[in-house]
């Protein structure tokens, strides 16, 4: 049994145990810690495990169906491992910070989302990749609808919107995947195995125009899941409404599935598809929509949860920019950015959730001067906020820098193509994100304390997971090579010749 299977199964079993009556908090935190330890072990042993070997490490496969060939296969390359680490970290923080007054379903849902995300990241079979993601979506919908913030009417509406939106996105995605598999099977045996599909793609690549078409369908499908403009309008209300652990896990981890899918499935199998002019231009248009439109939208928000939710949509634009650039540096940057964004937004949502609990509101006009009595809280928030505006030394910067640099690797050229223009426009987005984050920081923590509002620092044990996230931001921000070295040649195959 591969350790990866344990990593996937453990949260599922823990969720089952809690459902059967095991103590919720102890079980879920225990499972999260064990998972984190195993994941760290995997990260450290990855180099040895993957040495001298193409493809995935820690592989195992169980055949489910012969024809079409569906196997429950798991395996990790550097990209998957980085996202697994992200999941383990965020899951740990998310389940840890669930209050004792919350019902056990909070833990169950968090663990299910985590298990789904882990399964999706570690599956080497397109079928399970898709299925695990759907598994993780279900508790998300339920938790938004049942335990979301705000009026019952509102949260129900949001839950439905999210459900329908993501359902539609998943359907488009499914259509694209089926199309892809059918095209590659060529009338022979249908296979969903990624390795087999990659071999097939290397052997007989599809005609370029067909690649472009399939890529575009996949882009729409995955893009909906990642809230690619203009398919994003589910995301902001969903995150603003979702209970804290769900918001952390979905925006921090699960959302990365769409990007991961593009990186894992679309780019390697359709290497030229993304570079076809019309696809490229459409993608750039959409991601600039993410950055510019959502940047301005975020500036206009008046509540912290809305700012965070919209900023999370905005930042997806940079990751898409990395995918659009398609150079090795940019792709690695995109992976790093996925990790960094996941950690930073999870940290921010956790803090916002705590603020909401203590203060009862997140409206800027009603808050101020919190820095005076809650210094540790303020510092943690600063880590998240400055990370998300791309301050050097925190993880997001390295990713953004690599994305930008990777887009400017057409050496010796003296004219800007659409990609370079897009980078320049997205650089302005960095300024905009500083505007809204600093405004939020200013109105929450600076200034004199509002009367009647008092916030204490959380106790050390409550702070622990948040400190962990902040430390990860700092460590990865100072030494991005720690993570980047994990990605050896996984992306080399992706880069278009």
């Amino acid at each position: 049994m591969s350790p990866l299977e344990i990593v996937i199964l453990l949260p599922l079993l823990a969720a089952l145990a809690i459902w059967l009556g095991a103590p919720a908090r102890a079980t879920s935190v225990g499972a999260a810690v064990v998972n984190l330890v195993i994941t760290l072990g995997l990260v450290f042993s990855f180099k040895a495990a993957s040495a001298g070997k193409a493809g995935f490490a820690f592989e195992s496969a169980r055949i489910v169906l012969d024809n079409p060939a569906i196997t429950f296969g798991v395996g990790a390359d550097g990209v998957a491992l980085i996202l697994t680490l992200l999941t383990a970290l965020v899951t740990f923080a998310a389940v840890w910070q669930i209050g004792d007054d919350k019902p056990a379903i909070y833990h169950i849902a968090s663990l299910l989302i985590a298990a789904g995300a882990l399964g999706a990241f570690l599956s080497t079979d397109v079928f399970f990749l898709y299925a695990f993601h759907e598994l993780a979506l279900i508790p998300t919908f339920l938790m938004i609808g049942l335990y979301g913030h705000g009026e019952p009417e509102h949260r129900k509406a949001v839950a439905w919107k999210t459900t329908i939106y993501l359902g539609a996105g998943s359907l488009i995605l499914l259509a694209g995947l089926v199309w892809l598999v059918l095209e590659f099977s060529g009338g022979g045996k249908l296979t969903f195995d990624l390795q087999a599909l990659r071999a097939q793609a290397a052997l007989t690549p599809l005609p370029i125009e067909k690649q472009a078409q399939i890529f575009f369908v996949l882009l729409l499908g995955f893009g909906t899941l990642v809230s690619l403009f203009p398919l994003h309008s589910w995301a902001a209300p969903a995150y603003a409404t979702a209970p804290t652990p769900v918001a952390m896990l979905h925006s921090g981890v699960l959302k990365k599935f769409g990007l991961y899918g593009l990186l894992r499935i679309a780019l390697p199998l359709l290497p030229q598809g993304a570079q076809v002019a019309w696809v490229q231009e459409a993608l750039l248009f959409m991601l600039l929509g993410n950055i510019l439109v959502m940047g301005l939208v975020t500036i206009n928000q008046k509540r912290l949860d809305d700012v965070l939710a919209n900023s999370s949509v905005m930042h997806m634009g940079y990751i898409f920019l990395g995918l659009a650039a398609g150079t090795e540096i940019a792709l690695r940057g995109a992976v790093l950015l996925m990790f960094a964004h996941g950690i930073s937004i999870a940290l921010l949502f956790a803090l916002a959730g705590r603020m909401r609990n203590q203060l009862g509101t997140l409206e800027f006009s009603k808050l101020g001067g919190l820095g005076e009595h809650a210094p540790a809280f303020t510092v943690l928030f600063a880590f998240g906020a400055f990370a998300s505006i791309g301050l050097p030394g925190l993880a997001n910067f390295a990713g953004e820098l690599m994305v930008f640099v990777g887009s400017f690797m057409n050496y010796g050229s003296t004219s800007f193509g659409p990609l370079q223009w897009a980078v320049i426009v997205s650089l302005w987005g960095v300024v905009m994100s500083a505007v809204y984050m600093l405004r939020a920081y200013r109105s929450l923590f600076h200034g004199s304390a509002m009367s009647g509002l008092f916030m204490r620092d959380p106790s050390f044990s409550q702070r622990l997971p948040l400190i962990l996230l902040a430390a990860v931001l700092l460590i990865v921000g100072c030494c991005p090579w720690l993570l980047l070295n994990l990605i050896k040649s996984d992306l080399a195959a992706v880069v278009a010749p």
């Binding site: 203009p230 500036i299 820098l401 200013r442 030494c479 090579w481």
Partner: protein
């Protein structure tokens, strides 16, 4: 997982860079354990840094790789130092003033609750500033560029309970971000043009005989834009027009911070960086002209604004702006001279020379103003001071030395020589800018005399000024040391240590010297006559007092271009994007649903009708369609 092997000669610079960082980190993590010890820790690290920078002064030129950052195959973005004359000299300035400011703060911030936080932020600043000075490539410079922005943000917002401080730090960070926007574009353009090498040595080689050499002739627009992009970074950091608005507001921070960051070091980083990249600017005469003019404009404008300020720190802040404009102008002028007149650039640079002299006397002036403010119980309005000469003799003497240097009293002050070298270049490169420089010098003499007269001469105007006593020794000591450095820097023998700073001084045209001395005399005598014995300002020029209404204009621009645009875009996004992508399909589905609802509303007849229609459809398909398909 192992970091790449390190250069063995890199240990000293690495220590120099990492020590303040580790200090800041340990203060952040362990301030509860360390308590007061964290202040000592911070000062100790500043002292060690100073020693290291002294040790580096006679080190060989080298380019050690300090720490890895991003390494992928052949691609590398690393923290690579570049140790040469310029960085050694700058390092000396940064660490010496840094150490003095640390000491001064010990007295100035004694009563402050956030003392530990303050010293932690100071260490963070020392780390970032060291990074800028050591930086061997543009990416590293950008990284620390942003980090000094952060530490400046933290220090300006030290008293964040005050709304004005909270706004000021936000404004400083955001304005710098706008500058960094251009900086990054410039870096990326050079990155692209120079085939991925943006180390200073690589770029220099590129301009000499590499890919960039040809492009300077064939793609002038591209090169001009790249140079302007780089310049934009300096515009933000060194507070040049039109991004100068943050610096006066930054005076909301504690005064030692103003001395260190917003007078001597960080704001000068823009000039430092421009001199580092001078070959980029020299490659494009257009960019050089623009830079020189923006510098000149800033110098003149800031000097005009300084004449009508009443806050002692703000006067100094505008004076800093003005002097920074001078330095930037010098960068542009020298580049014009090199590129148009094909002069060979000497080893030193007038801008660096002025930066170096200015750093000492301006830091001293700020610390002096800090001592005054401290003595007058945090009173900053010069019209509420007066007669401090008697109460604070040491401060008075040091302040006088600083003022004289800033005004450029001929021959005996360092400020005179450095200003002279700039005006000398200006005289040869661009005559109108030369006259702007002279006008600025005259204004400088005027407003400094004004401030000096109002503050120190005459009689005390308020109780607090009356009861002012000399600051404690821990605060006076740095003043004295800085005064000594200011005086020392007049002498060439001292300056030989910092050879790169000093341009080889060719004989100037006599007009230059005459003009600058005349400017000094006119400016200071007018100031002295106008303000001696006055209790309120005889001049009242609204335009200058209100800083040419830049803040108001920018407020409108921000309001319209950002807030209202954001509001409109938010509305449009809700209306159209959400509308077309989500709500329109939802609406259509709902209509179809309610249409279908009639058929499936539980009405038996409707069901039967559907059943019948279904039967017909099946019959149609089975009997009429399938045979066609060959089944």
């Amino acid at each position: 997982m192992t970091p790449p092997a390190q250069d063995t000669t890199a240990s000293l610079p690495t220590l120099l860079l990492m020590l303040p960082f580790l200090t800041a980190l340990s203060i952040l993590l362990g301030h509860k354990l360390l308590k007061g010890a964290s202040v000592v820790l911070s000062i100790a690290s500043a002292a060690i840094c100073f020693v290291i920078s002294l040790m580096l002064l006679d080190a060989r030129d080298s380019a050690p790789m300090l720490l890895p950052f991003i390494e992928i195959g052949k691609f590398r973005i690393g923290l690579d130092a570049m140790i040469d004359q310029q960085s050694r000299g700058m390092m000396f300035i940064v660490t010496s003033i840094g150490l003095l400011v640390h000491l001064f703060s010990l007295g100035y911030m004694k009563e402050d609750e956030g003392k530990v936080r303050f010293f932690g932020s100071l260490s963070l600043f020392m780390f970032s500033m060291t990074g800028i000075v050591l930086a061997g490539n543009l990416f590293m410079m950008f990284i620390f560029w942003e980090l000094v922005g952060l530490s400046s943000y933290l220090l300006i917002g030290h008293w964040f309970e005050k709304p004005s401080a909270a706004e000021a730090c936000k404004k400083a960070f955001l304005t710098n971000r706008i500058g960094d926007f251009g900086f990054m574009i410039g870096i990326l353009m050079l990155f692209m043009a120079n085939h991925g090498d943006v180390s200073f040595s690589g770029l220099k080689g590129g301009f000499a005989e590499g890919p960039l050499h040809e492009m300077t002739q064939t793609h002038t627009l591209f090169m001009t834009l790249a140079a302007l992009g780089i310049f934009m970074g300096a515009v933000g950091k060194s507070a040049q027009f039109p991004l100068h608005v943050w610096l006066p507001d930054a005076m909301e921070g504690p005064t030692p911070v103003s001395a260190l960051i917003h007078a001597a070091t960080m704001v000068a980083a823009g000039v430092f960086m421009l001199v580092r990249c001078s070959f980029v600017i020299e490659a494009s005469p257009d960019a050089a002209t623009i830079i020189a003019w923006i510098g000149g404009l800033t110098a003149l404008m800031a000097a005009l604004m300084a004449t009508q300020q009443n806050d002692i720190k703000r006067v100094l802040a505008y004076s800093t702006l003005s002097q920074l404009g001078y330095m930037v102008m010098a960068v542009g002028l020298l580049a014009i001279q090199v590129s148009v007149n094909h002069h060979e650039a000497g080893p030193g640079h007038p801008a660096m020379f002025h930066l170096y002299t200015h750093a000492f006397f301006k830091a001293m002036l700020f610390l002096g103003s800090g001592a005054i403010i401290y003595a007058c119980h945090h009173e900053q309005d010069i019209w509420k001071m007066g007669g401090l000469m008697k109460h604070m003799p040491v401060t008075f003497v040091t302040f006088a030395i600083g003022t004289a240097s800033l005004m450029g009293v001929p021959f005996i002050t360092s400020g005179f020589w450095s200003k002279e070298s700039i005006l000398g270049v200006g005289f040869e490169a661009c005559r109108p800018l030369f006259w702007i420089g002279v006008a600025t010098a005259m204004l400088t003499a005027f407003y400094m005399t004004r401030m000096f007269v109002i503050t120190f001469l005459g009689k005390p105007r308020t109780e607090s000024a009356h009861h002012a006593i000399e600051a404690p020794i821990i605060m006076v000591l740095p003043l004295v040391v800085l005064a000594a450095l200011t005086v020392l820097s007049t002498f060439e023998s001292f300056n030989r240590l910092l050879a790169a700073m000093i341009p080889n001084h060719a004989e100037d045209h006599p007009t230059v010297m005459i003009a600058s001395i005349a400017a000094l005399i006119i400016g200071s005598s007018v100031g002295f006559l106008l303000y001696r014995g006055k209790n309120s300002d005889p001049l009242n020029i609204k335009l200058f007092a209100n800083k040419f209404y830049f803040d108001e204009i920018y407020a409108v621009i921000v309001k319209v271009l950002q807030d209202q645009l954001a509001w409109i875009v938010n509305g449009l996004e809700r209306m159209f994007v959400d509308g077309i992508v989500a709500r329109l399909p939802a609406f259509i589905a709902m209509r179809i649903g309610s249409a279908a609802r009639i058929l499936t509303g539980g009405h038996l007849q409707a069901y039967t009708f559907l059943l019948g229609a279904g039967v017909l459809m099946v019959i149609y398909l089975v009997v009429f369609v399938l045979p066609q398909l060959g089944h």
